[in-house]
Symmetry: none
Subunit: 233 residues, 2 copies
DNA sequence: CCATGCTTTGACCCAGCGGTCAAAAAATCA
DNA sequence: TGATTTTTTGACCGCTGGGTCAAAGCATGG
């Protein structure tokens, strides 16, 4: 489909140069058409932008609803939320990056839709946090600030994630969750039910990772310990 | 000084409409000059951008160096880092927001400088994390991912922080730190001796102890993993 | 008073923008 | 095949962009 080809090329160019940095001529050149021909598929520039973002945002709404079913305890829900968020950002990194960076340049209706998506996602997260506090699983903290912190952590992925990096999105998500849970899950009192919640496998993996980490550090230290005039520490 | 007046007006307009959304004519109108007159103060558009961002970035480099003196333990250092970062973003929110959102529209050299600032800030944070782990204050985690998470949390402020909001930057920073530390500070009954500061021997001893601790935990988990599948998740 | 230098003007250039349109070219169907 | 519809062209319009420049204004001080 030519139309889809146009949308795809436009998306790529927008991401590379910013929305205002791409002319219709650029897009036409990329696809191998003439500027005039584009107007057979789009009534104007804003319409093109709408087609670039419209489908994606609708799909994100759907995905958000699907992945935050609300099953499981607050801990599991938070984990699911972060996993969903991280996956979403990494898989549609171009569009996320674009929406954050060029939000001011979006057509008003698209912009409004995008803001609504952000708002809904934010309220889902806040509901999870609230439920967690109510259930006694999370420390009571400032809901708003925590939600922004978590969303920021996830959204920032759009600025640094590289598909060819050493870590998969799932691994990154789990790292995030681990950081967050150790900060949110109450650990001081009560029966330590963090075991079942966390899962024995995850806990074992954590310990294995810790062993590897410390072993490597220890190895690095060996020459230092042996040599007399070494460059200490 | 007319020049400064121009820079100030340009900054304000850029923030409101994005870099590419502001023409030299707009700036001239704002200051009350003619487009031609601007060229008496700037050799071209990129030069103007350079003057808008140049001073600020230099100042940020200075600020970063000043606020990360490295005194205190890892916990204190992390707290200082987050406080500095949050303060910096909230106080220069226009320029931060602009740099993140319109990074693609900056002149190449300015862009390079900005990226360098980000990189340096990132490496400072990673050093703190590494030192914290080495000292036994922090759990061993993926340095890169944690650094991105923390920086993301802070940088995301540029997207939502409002000066007239209910929380001061300092309060927000402390909320962040609390979230982070409860995730990073070791709270379980692992190797508890965090005393010895920097000696290589002490560090090696700590790592050895940590390995033994985690190995034992891992062993304890083995029956659980092999047993009747109850908590599989 | 004029001479000197800094500052500002406003007309101008050209390139590129989004957008239009009649006509040509391809594809489709009968 | 011819008739019809979809797709594409390329010339064109009005407009705004960054950038140039000779000349005018405006201080200053000898």
């Amino acid at each position: 489909m030519v139309r889809d080809e146009v949308v795809r090329s436009a998306t790529r160019l927008f991401k590379e140069r910013g929305i205002r940095g791409v002319s219709l001529q650029d897009i036409a050149d990329e696809v191998g058409l003439t500027k005039g021909a584009l107007y057979h598929y789009f009534s104007n520039r804003d319409d093109l932008l709408r087609q670039v973002f419209g489908d994606w945002i609708t799909q994100e709404f759907e995905s958000l609803r699907a992945h935050t079913s609300g099953s499981g305890g607050p801990t599991a829900q938070l984990r699911d939320y972060v996993r969903y968020h991280v996956t979403s950002v990494t898989q549609n990194i171009d569009l996320y990056h674009l929406s954050f960076s060029s939000e001011a340049e979006l057509p008003p209706d698209v912009r409004a839709e995008f803001r609504q998506l952000k708002r809904r996602s934010d309220s889902v997260l806040k509901a999870i946090l609230r439920a967690g506090v109510a259930a006694g699983d999370f420390e009571p903290r400032d809901e708003k600030v925590m939600a922004f912190a978590i969303d920021g952590m996830c959204n920032w992925l759009s600025q640094w994630y590289a598909a060819d990096g050493p870590k998969s999105p799932a691994q990154i998500a789990d790292d995030f969750v681990e950081l967050l849970l150790r900060g949110l899950v109450r650990q001081d009192d009560g029966p330590t039910d963090s075991g079942p919640a966390h899962g024995a496998v995850a806990t074992a993996e954590y310990h294995a990772r810790a062993i590897r980490f410390h072993s490597e550090r220890l190895e690095q230290l060996l020459p230092t310990l042996g040599g007399p005039g070494g460059t200490g520490a």
